[in-house]
């Protein structure tokens, strides 16, 4: 099973950028999304994210993520239209103002989630943590904790899958069509999942210590992550994006 945040190998300019630059680019798109207040800008930023995704051959990941996010966005839209009343009524309880705020909130939701995922698909976690340590001077233990947490996401989802299969084969109705019933059945499974994850994290800590985790310094990394000319160009573009977000 491939996961949305798995690295997609490639050799595009986006792959070759310094991981910190990529992080800054994602952050700039997100900040601009929050600041922007026009449809043109919001859609433009989404289009930019997708264009970068297509360029880095990870557009399919973004699309599969979109399938998860769109239902969430629709729920948000409905809630927003229920709470924000103003302007003229368009349909049932929905008003023009409600629709405008709601749809912008939806676009922001998508605009915030997608750049982060895009950044993760073009960066190896090891590179990300090493670069953060080297360039941003983040203590290694925090970078390690963060990347390990991300690495455990697919491990735990596999585990959850195995547990669900085992329970299903015993006759628990996970194949029920009713989502509420399914959720209710899933809750007791948190126990086995928790038990195994505590064991796993403990083993990870032991293994890391036995491989010299505590000796690691900022100079340890074999690979170097210097900021090059193209990084500065992209960073300048990031600033421009944010400024554009304020203006638009």
């Amino acid at each position: 099973m491939l996961n949305a945040i798995d690295y997609v190998p490639g050799n595009t300019l986006l792959h070759r950028l310094n991981p910190v630059t990529k992080l800054a680019l994602a952050a700039a798109i997100i900040i601009a999304t929050f600041l922007a207040n026009t449809y043109a800008m919001l859609l433009g930023l989404l289009a930019l994210t997708f264009a970068l995704g297509v360029y880095a051959h990870s557009a399919s990941r973004l699309v599969s993520l979109l399938k998860l996010l769109v239902p969430l966005a629709v729920v948000m839209l409905l809630l927003q239209t229920a709470f924000v009343r103003g302007g003229s009524v368009v349909f049932a309880w929905m008003t023009t103002e409600g629709l405008t705020t709601g749809s912008k909130a939806c676009l922001r939701l998508l605009g915030v989630a997608l750049p982060l995922i895009l950044m993760l698909t073009v960066t190896k976690l090891v590179d990300l943590s090493n670069a953060c340590v080297e360039v941003l001077h983040i203590p290694y233990r925090y970078a390690f904790t963060f990347t390990t947490a991300l690495r455990f996401v697919p491990v735990f989802s596999q585990q959850m899958n195995a547990i669900m299969e085992a329970q299903c084969a015993r006759g628990v109705e996970y194949d029920t069509k009713n989502p509420l019933r399914k959720l209710q059945l899933m809750l007791p499974l948190c126990v086995p999942l928790l038990v195994s994850s505590v064991g796993k994290t403990d083993a990870t800590a032991l293994a890391a210590e036995e491989r010299g985790f505590y000796l690691r310094t900022r100079q340890s990394s074999y690979k170097r992550y210097p900021l090059t000319g193209r990084d500065y160009v992209v960073l300048a573009a990031c600033v421009a994006l944010v400024v554009l977000g304020v203006l638009a």
Binding site: P9, A166, A169, V172, A207, R211
Partner: protein, 595 residues
């Protein structure tokens, strides 16, 4: 310098340990009064039933005790001249490199090269030497081609080699591995041990390996340690250790089948005691020497094959009975590519024990999932007890087909053992009181603690709880997915004897298993799979004797069958088709007395 050439690399002096929150002082300790020395360059195997203290012993050697696990430690552990209590875990791990049991938790990176770099960077290997070290280690382990691969895309055997390489790159003087082949098929297990032998012989690295597979240990180790109840029961060369057949059986440790042949011959006074054979070749030479050149006589073969306690009695089936499991022209492919199965045809009758064998990735797990309804065939039909699995939800199939999963922890979810075992019945609509009554009967039979929380039990007992919840269902079909993995010999026999009893009562048993000895002992028929297809199916001994089929499926036939084939070829055709130790011994005795 503390390290002189002849001093032991690891020495335990009267070491005892009990885990914090574990049993009290007066109860059994995890490790009690263990003294031993591991010499430089040795290849040491550690074996013992579960709960015997093997992993605890490994933790003491690696320094995880006392630095990571809390508890009461007595005695002294000296690693390369230093007491492990006086130096840090990081310093100990410069000498002793450990590979954990669950290698997924050990991996820190997504790409092989980065995984190898992690330790090298941490221990401050000068950057101009790193490239050479990487290349050399990859070459030693034989995975140069994997350097840029994503770890998630590797097979189990390849992953294990990467884990070993990542530790080996640090150039430790001892390599310590906890059950490195538990999840691997026989072919990959052999490759991992080949790698260990190479490292041991060429680089002089001391290897200490915990392992359940006796045939591997006897072939590769210089020395075997047998653990029992927290102490060291036996210590010697594999030959010395396997000469103590009786003691090993009491402890709960299996012996290689050829050693059993030897020990049985010794008990009948045909050979002198104390020097068992460890390989099929040795056993063949021994028996050939005993019976001498023998003219072909085809007389007492049927008698010679009878009489083993492991051979299941013939059950009345297949004559006129309706198959309880029926697969016809079943195909399945996962939506995102990966493994597929093609054109599977098979029938299983009530009361049969059928083994499914093949390499990792041959499609065995997919087949079991098609049977219990977790997957539906993309074409063809699967019928269980007359139900087409395409028509009913998985949770309904569970009433007819119970699965014993490899990892019991995935199916335990209740607060007490009693609730856990009654749960399956309740799900099928059995009244709660009735379910508990039936659960109690099974609990008594297995001798399980009814009111304890399943998660507080040992791994072996958790597997027994899982087994009990299968038994209580009284299903038409039982599916076993690697029933022996992670279990010691005695637990494994309990599982197999229980399902054999179920089969005698008319339940069909289908097992996926890497342990060919277990398959050969308990299955009447086997299905041989490779690359998602069924290569052959038929009577167990006959299939295992088909050398060409075994080679195509990358399956190693059980030792006894290899031995009887070799003997039939070189000594006397009477040996052909014998699949049990007692068969070989009886026939040999018969031929010796006849001569």
């Amino acid at each position: 310098m503390p390290s002189s050439a002849d001093s032991p690399i690891i020495e335990l002096r009267d070491v005892s340990f009990s885990y914090e929150g574990g049993p009290d002082q007066d109860e059994e300790m995890a490790l009690s009064h263990v003294s031993l020395k591991v010499g430089r360059g040795e290849f040491v195997g550690v074996i013992g039933p579960s709960g015997a203290g093997k992993s605890t012993l490994a933790s003491v050697m690696s320094g995880a005790i006392p630095h990571h696990y809390r508890g009461a430690l007595y005695g002294a552990t000296i690693v390369d001249g230093n007491d492990t209590c006086e130096v840090t875990l990081t310093d100990i791990s410069r000498v002793v490199g450990s590979v954990l049991q669950d290698i997924d938790t050990q991996m820190v990176a997504s790409v092989v090269e980065d995984e190898m770099l992690f330790g090298l960077e941490n221990f401050g290997v000068p950057h101009d030497q790193i490239e050479a070290r990487l290349e050399q280690t990859l070459r030693t382990v034989g995975i140069e081609d994997l350097r840029d691969r994503e770890i998630a895309t590797l097979s189990g055997g390849q992953k294990q080699k990467v884990a070993i390489a990542a530790i080996l790159a640090l150039q430790p003087r001892v390599l310590l591995l906890d059950e490195p082949t538990a999840a691997l098929d026989p072919a990959s297990s052999t490759l991992v041990f080949d790698t260990l032998r190479k490292v041991n012989r060429e680089s002089g690295i001391t290897v200490v390996v915990i392992e359940q597979k006796v045939a591997l240990l006897s072939r590769y180790c210089d020395r075997l340690l047998v653990m029992s109840h927290g102490s060291l029961a036996l210590d010697g060369t594999p030959r010395q250790v396997f000469a103590h057949a009786e003691e090993l059986r009491k402890i709960g440790v299996d012996s290689p089948r050829v050693a059993r042949v030897y020990n049985s011959l010794a008990r009948r006074g045909l050979v002198r005691r104390g020097d068992p054979c460890l390989t099929v070749d040795e056993a063949e030479r021994l028996i050939a020497g005993l019976v001498g050149p023998h003219p072909a006589q085809v007389a007492e073969v049927p008698e010679a094959r009878a009489g083993s306690r492991h051979v299941p009695p013939q059950r009345p089936h297949s004559q006129g009975a309706q198959p309880v499991v029926e697969l016809s022209k079943v195909c399945f492919g996962y939506p995102n590519g990966g493994a597929t199965v093609d054109d599977l045809d098979m029938c299983v009758y009530p009361g049969e024990v059928v083994g499914i064998v093949g390499q990792n990735g041959a499609g065995k797990t997919t087949l079991t999932k098609l049977l219990n309804g977790l997957l539906r065939p993309s074409s063809g039909t699967v019928r269980i007890a007359g139900i087409d699995t395409a028509d009913v939800p998985t949770s309904k199939i569970a009433a007819h087909c119970s699965t014993l999963f490899q990892n019991p922890d995935n199916q335990l979810c209740k607060d007490t053992v009693l609730d856990e075992i009654a749960f399956g019945l309740e799900l099928q609509g059995v009244d709660a009181d009735e379910a508990r009554r039936r659960a109690r009967v099974v609990i008594d039979r297995f001798g399980l603690p009814a009111d304890e929380a399943p998660f507080s039990l040992s791994r072996g007992q958790r597997q027994m709880v899982a087994l009990a919840s299968v038994v209580v269902m009284e299903p038409d079909v039982v599916l076993l997915d690697e029933p022996t993995s992670g279990l010691d010999y005695r637990e494994c026999m309990t599982v197999m004897e229980t399902v054999t009893q179920m089969a005698e009562r008319g339940c069909a048993v289908i097992m996926v298993c890497h342990d060919m000895e277990v398959v050969s002992d308990f299955a009447e028929r086997i299905v041989v799979m490779a690359d998602g297809r069924i290569l052959g199916r038929g009577e167990t001994t006959q299939m295992f004797s088909d050398a060409d089929l075994m080679r195509r499926a990358y399956v190693e036939a059980p030792q006894v069958i290899e031995l009887s084939q070799a003997l039939a070829r070189d000594v006397s055709p009477e040996f052909a088709g014998i699949s049990q130790v007692s068969g070989i011994v009886d026939l040999t005795e018969g031929m010796v007395t006849r001569a």
